[in-house]
Symmetry: C2
Subunit: 318 residues, 2 copies
C-alpha cells in the first residue's frame, strides 16, 4: 500500500526546510496578462537554491534522515537538477553525497555537482549502467538512495512550492506545473487539494515526451521511450507513487509543441527579464495553446527552474 | 547658471512618479558575494517598466509638464531605452509622443516604441539628420523635447533609483552605476550625497567608450567619438548638466574591458537567473577588475536595464 503525503506531513516538511530554502517570490507581468487575458502568478523556483524546485525535495529528504543514516551519506543517479540539489542539501547537512553521472553529461552540470562537493562516479549513458553503478556505490558506502521523484519525502518537499504560492495568492482558479517524473506535479496537486479551494491542477508536458499524458489516458504507467524535446528536465517516466497521486488529484494533462515551449520561454525572458529553463516554460506554453480554457482565469504557474544553457539558446528557431 | 537638483526636488520627483513606476526589488547573491568577497546589493531596474531605469526620468519629465504643454505632446530622438520609456510615460498621461529614429534602428526597438503608441519619424543615421528631423517635428507639433539625460526633471527621476536603494539597504560603502550620457550617474551621485552617509560613488564605463573617464580627467567634456562596445546604452557623451554634477559628486570613473562586461553579464544571468543588458553589467565588471578596491565592502549596484537582444547574445565569446 503506497503512502500518500497528508496535509500535516507537507506542513512539517515546510517547517523542516524553511530555514534552508529560499522563499521564492511570486511575480506577475501585466504584459503577459494582457496577451492572454488572464491573471498569471508565477512562483519563481528558478530563483531557488541550485536553480530549481528540486532543492525543496532534496532538502526534505536529507533533513528527514536519522543521524546514523545521514552519516553514511546519500546517493543518486542523475544528470540533471536533482543531482545538484541533492549535493547542495548534503553539503548543507555536512554529510557525503555520491552522484552517478553518465560520462556524456554536459561539463557545466558535472562542474555544478562537483562545486557542491559531491563525489561523482561516471558510468555509461544507459539506465542499466546507471543503476548498476549506483548499486556498487551503495554496496561500498551504505549511503541512502534518494530517488529524484518517487520518494515520499521528496514529494512532500516539492509540495511546499504550491503551499507557499497558495499562502501568498488567494482565489486561484488553476495551478499549472510541468510533469516529467511527476514529483513536482504530485506535490502541487496535493497542496492544491489540501490548502486551496476548488483549484483545477493541470500537468503540462511536451508532446514529444507525452508519457504522462498517455499514462493517465490509459490508466497505467506508459514508459517514456525515446522522448524528443528541448525540455530536458521532462524526459523521465512516472513511477508508482507519482502515478497514483497524479491520476487521482489532477484535472488533466496538457501537451504542448516544441515551438510553443520556445515561444513561451522567450516571452518570459523578454517580458519578465528572468531566466527560466525550457522545462519551466511548458506551463505558459499550455496557456498559449489553450487560450479559451484559461481566458479570464487566475492561474498559478510553477516556474520550475532556471538552469538553462546560456551558450546554446533556442531563440533563433522562432 | 546650471540648476542642480536639490534633495527636496528628488523627493518630490519620487512622490510624483511613485504611483506609476515599479518599486524594483533589491536582490543579493551569496554566490557572487563569495566570488568577490563583497556584499553586493543589486537594484534591479531591469524589472522597471519598459525594461530600464529610463522610465523614472521620462515619467518625471512628462508628469512635470503643465497641462497646456502636455497636450502638445513630447518628443525626442533616440534609438534606445529612452524612446520606449518616453513613449510609455506619454501613453500613461494620454498625450502624444513623437520619436525620431534612424532608419537603421533594429526592428525590435522600432516595434517596442510603436507598441507604446508613439509616432515614429525616420531619419538618416547621423546626429545631424536626427536633430534636423526633430526640429521639423517640433515646428509642426510644438511638442516639448525631453532630452534623454541633460534635463533637470529627467535627472531627478533617475535619482530615485538610488534613493529607493538607500532607503532599503543601510550602511552602503559604495554605489556603482554605469555612465553613458550621465543621467543615471548624476542622479545616483546626488542621492548618495544627500541621503547616504559617506558613500563613494563610482561611474562604470566601457574602455571602448571612455569619454566620461577622459572628461573627468581633463576637466572638460570630451565627446564620445567612434565608441566601440557591446554596451549599446553607453555610447553617448556627457552634456553640461551631467558633466557638472558628475565632476563634483563622484569618487572616480572605472573603465572596464569588453571581456569583463560579457563575463559579468554571464555571471549575473547564470547565478542570479535574471536578464540584464550589457550596459548594466559594466558595474559588476568594475568589481571584477578591481577586486582589492571592493573586497569586504557593502556595494550598491544599479542594474540599469534588461533590454538585451536575446537572439544575439555574446556568451559564446567567453
Amino acid at each position: 500500500m503506497l503512502k500518500i503525503p497528508a496535509p500535516n506531513e507537507i506542513k512539517n516538511a515546510h517547517s523542516r526546510i524553511r530555514p534552508f530554502i529560499h522563499h521564492t517570490p511570486v511575480l506577475t507581468s501585466s504584459n503577459i496578462n494582457s496577451v492572454f487575458d488572464t491573471e498569471c502568478f508565477f512562483k519563481c523556483e528558478n530563483f531557488q537554491k541550485a536553480g530549481a524546485f528540486k532543492y525543496r525535495g532534496a532538502s526534505n529528504a536529507v533533513l528527514s534522515l536519522k543521524t546514523e543514516e545521514a552519516l553514511k551519506g546519500v546517493a543518486t543517479h542523475s544528470s540533471g537538477n536533482h543531482a545538484g540539489a541533492l549535493a547542495l542539501a548534503a553539503k548543507q547537512r555536512n554529510i557525503p553525497c555520491h552522484v552517478v553521472m553518465p560520462s556524456t553529461a554536459p561539463q557545466p552540470k558535472i562542474d555544478a555537482v562537483r562545486h557542491y562537493g559531491a563525489q561523482i562516479t561516471f558510468c555509461e549513458p544507459t539506465l542499466k549502467s546507471r543503476e548498476e553503478t549506483l548499486d556498487k556505490v551503495i554496496s561500498v558506502t551504505k549511503a541512502t538512495i534518494i530517488h529524484p521523484y518517487n520518494n515520499f519525502n521528496v514529494i512532500c518537499g516539492q509540495a511546499t512550492a504550491a503551499l507557499e504560492l497558495l499562502e501568498e495568492v488567494p482565489g486561484l482558479d488553476i495551478i499549472l506545473a510541468p510533469v516529467g517524473g511527476g514529483g513536482l506535479l504530485s506535490g502541487t496537486a496535493l497542496s492544491s487539494g489540501y490548502f486551496g479551494k476548488k483549484i483545477s491542477v493541470y500537468g503540462c508536458e511536451p508532446a514529444g515526451a507525452d508519457d504522462a499524458y498517455r499514462s493517465i489516458k490509459l490508466g497505467s504507467i506508459v514508459p517514456s521511450v525515446n522522448p524528443e524535446t528541448i525540455a530536458d528536465g521532462l524526459l523521465t517516466s512516472l513511477c508508482d507513487l507519482t502515478f497514483t497521486i497524479i491520476k487521482d488529484h489532477i484535472h488533466d494533462i496538457l501537451t504542448v509543441s516544441e515551438v510553443s515551449i520556445i515561444k513561451s520561454m522567450f516571452l518570459i525572458w523578454e517580458r519578465m527579464k528572468i531566466v527560466v529553463e525550457p522545462s519551466a516554460a511548458v506551463t505558459l506554453a499550455a496557456v498559449m495553446e489553450n487560450k479559451d480554457l484559461f481566458r479570464g482565469k487566475r492561474i498559478g504557474i510553477i516556474l520550475s527552474g532556471g538552469n538553462a544553457n546560456l551558450r546554446n539558446l533556442p531563440f533563433y528557431l522562432i
